[in-house]
């Protein structure tokens, strides 16, 4: 609540109180069912979503055209293939979330 602690005078505190009293209850009633639904999901869903992000990113990179990947490179040696670089970057993250996510 950084904003409500800002020491810029009484008018700001009054404004914050006004916002909270007018918008707080309707937005809370909108957000509460979402919170309850998310709270009911098992943690396996959380891990799947996290790892899914990395996997989808990895698959997407391989759909990019070779010409686009090498654009600006001095040559087309295999080790300049940024799709391979992406895999090298992604794999440790997937391993970490598999190990420490649960």
């Amino acid at each position: 609540m950084l904003f409500t602690r800002m020491a810029v005078g009484g008018w700001w505190e009054n404004f914050c109180e006004f916002i909270c009293s007018v918008l707080g209850p309707p937005l809370k009633s909108f957000h509460e069912p979402i919170d309850q639904w998310l709270g009911s999901l098992p943690m396996s869903v959380a891990i799947a979503c996290a790892i899914g992000l990395f996997v989808v990113a990895g698959i997407w990179v391989w759909t990019l055209r070779r010409e686009f990947i090498f654009r600006g490179a001095p040559d087309h040696q295999w080790w300049r293939d940024l799709r391979i670089w992406s895999m090298v970057v992604l794999l440790p993250y997937i391993a970490v979330y598999l190990l420490l996510g649960r």
Binding site: L2, A7, L27, L38, R71
Partner: protein
């Protein structure tokens, strides 16, 4: 956080002195290669991928992370690592392969400049002003963090520490421009990794390795198994609930950070080729894996060794004080200063780039009728760097009242991350997005972030309201931009050439930036 200064030995002061001289020498060495604004702001577009990658990481990991990030890890556990893991890598790939080629081909200096071309001048100005305010505040926070640390390490009073830091950073940032900033960043990354690596080794040895750490921390009555889990349940009282980490941090906040952060993008745009720019981003992704291990794990080890620290931000200074021998203390001080200076100089250079490019340059052209000359731009750039630094230094003590600086930075970021990403995505992927649509999406989005930040825990389940603020402001900005665009006149295909999807990725003949 007491008592460190009394334990500094002569060898520590020698190491600190050598480090300072080295940084100043590199800064002044690169000054002789600066002849134009392109040299100053984009390093003459000659940076290799490894320097870009290292510079991005070291600019991103500042003194704030070393102190408050480690403090948050002490308090909240390994979930803090999400900010550098899931909060980095998918975003880095998106930045490297989607956004970077657009900026590169458009030949732009800044993100507001890109928004100006795609939408309109008002969008450019408003975005530039919001970014400037954020960067100025961030530099002030960094200077304050430096003051707190130097106060504990060398016993200096806060104001002296702020002005000494200001003078040292100013010397090489003003003279050398981006090349000096990036090349000192390379040296600073090495110093930072060696210093924090030594601290990690000592802390883990002392706590008895990973098994000793888990045993000692879990023996504390208020700590649960969740302290060692990256993803934490979505329930009341949780600091970092997993949906916020995955969907907000992983998808929106991090993407907005890497594609919208001038300090990050400016490095990539200074590359010698498009391949180096992309490879530099990926190199940064690889180094980012190490940051939680080097910075947050010592914070957790401190929890096992010193369970009653208050405030939690005292974790790293306490470890330095209690565990590090003479010589290593000096190295750790150099590592801290490396982290601090690399971040301050990066933000400073980016701040001036935005002010000069997006605010002053259009005004100059309107008043004088001709474009800003390279020589005048360079002089103004240097003067402004000094000016911004001085303003930030004057403002820095204001942050003495703030409780958790890490959360302050994240809250400041949440003020524009969601709206920025929304209008950027639509601007690139949707030909129908109009100037009025982008402007409305940005303005309404930023206003919404302020309202949501005010509401905070009155609406959201976690104390870290910024996670939700970025998420919802993104979707609302997206909806507003679409709605307004549908009722306003779109740009012609000629006007959108080189700015939207299809006219860039499929254009194989374009080999370099316009500048």
């Amino acid at each position: 956080m007491d008592g460190i200064s009394s334990n500094l030995a002569s060898i520590d002061y020698i190491i600190i002195g050598v480090y300072m001289i080295g940084v100043l020498y590199i800064g002044s060495y690169f000054a002789k290669y600066i002849h134009s604004t392109s040299d100053f702001f984009l390093a003459g577009r000659a940076l290799p991928f490894w320097a870009i990658g290292m510079s991005i990481v070291v600019s991103d990991i500042g003194a704030i992370d070393l102190i408050t990030g480690a403090g948050a890890a002490y308090d909240r556990g390994i979930a803090q690592a999400n900010f550098d893991w899931i909060g980095s890598v998918p975003a880095i790939l998106i930045a490297a392969f989607i956004f970077l080629p657009y900026y590169w081909r458009a030949g732009v200096y800044t993100l507001p400049e890109f928004l100006g071309r795609r939408y309109n001048a008002a969008t450019r100005w408003i975005h530039a002003l919001v970014l400037l305010a954020f960067m100025l505040a961030t530099v002030s926070i960094m200077l304050w963090t430096s003051a707190v640390f130097l106060n504990k390490v060398l016993g200096w009073d806060h104001l002296t520490a702020i002005w000494v830091t200001t003078a040292i950073v100013g010397c090489y940032a003003i003279s050398g421009g981006l090349a000096a900033v990036v090349m000192t960043d390379v040296m600073q990354l090495v110093v930072m990794f060696v210093g924090t690596g030594a601290l990690l080794a000592l802390a883990m040895w002392e706590v008895g390795g990973w098994s000793g750490l888990t045993e000692k921390v879990l023996a504390q009555p208020e700590v649960t198994q969740e302290y060692f889990r990256l993803l934490v349940e979505h329930k009341p009282g949780t600091e970092y609930p997993w949906p916020g980490m995955v969907f907000s941090l992983g998808l929106i906040m991090s993407t907005a950070y890497f594609v919208g952060n001038q300090a990050v993008m400016q490095r990539a745009l200074g590359a010698r080729s498009e391949w180096d720019a992309k490879a530099g981003m990926l190199t940064a992704g690889l180094f980012k894996m190490m940051i939680p291990i080097l910075v947050f794990l010592p914070g957790m080890a401190a929890r096992g060794l010193f369970p009653d620290l208050s405030p939690a931000d005292a974790a790293i200074p306490t470890l330095i004080d209690r565990l590090m021998p003479a010589g290593l203390k000096g190295l750790m001080f150099a590592a801290f200063f490396a982290a601090l200076m690399s971040s301050v100089d990066s933000y400073l250079n980016s701040c001036v780039t935005i002010f000069l490019g997006d605010i002053y340059r259009p005004i100059h052209k309107k008043i004088t009728g001709h474009a800003l000359s390279g020589k005048l731009g360079l002089t103004l750039g240097r003067l402004l760097t000094a000016g911004v630094l001085v303003v930030a230094a004057f403002y820095a003590p204001q942050f003495a009242k703030s409780e958790t600086l890490y959360d302050v930075i994240q809250t400041l970021l949440s003020l524009f991350q969601g709206p920025t990403l929304a209008i950027l995505l639509l601007g690139i992927f949707w030909h129908r997005a109009t100037g009025w649509g982008g402007l409305a999406g940005l303005v309404i989005g930023v206003c919404l972030t302020m309202v949501l930040n005010i509401l905070g825990e009155a609406v959201f389940l976690s104390e870290a309201a910024y996670l939700y603020v970025s998420f919802w402001s993104f979707w609302v900005s997206l909806a507003v931009t679409i709605a307004v665009s549908l009722v306003t006149t779109p740009k012609t295909p000629e006007e959108l050439q080189g700015l939207v999807y299809g006219s860039v990725l499929n254009e194989s003949t374009v080999e370099g930036p316009a500048h």
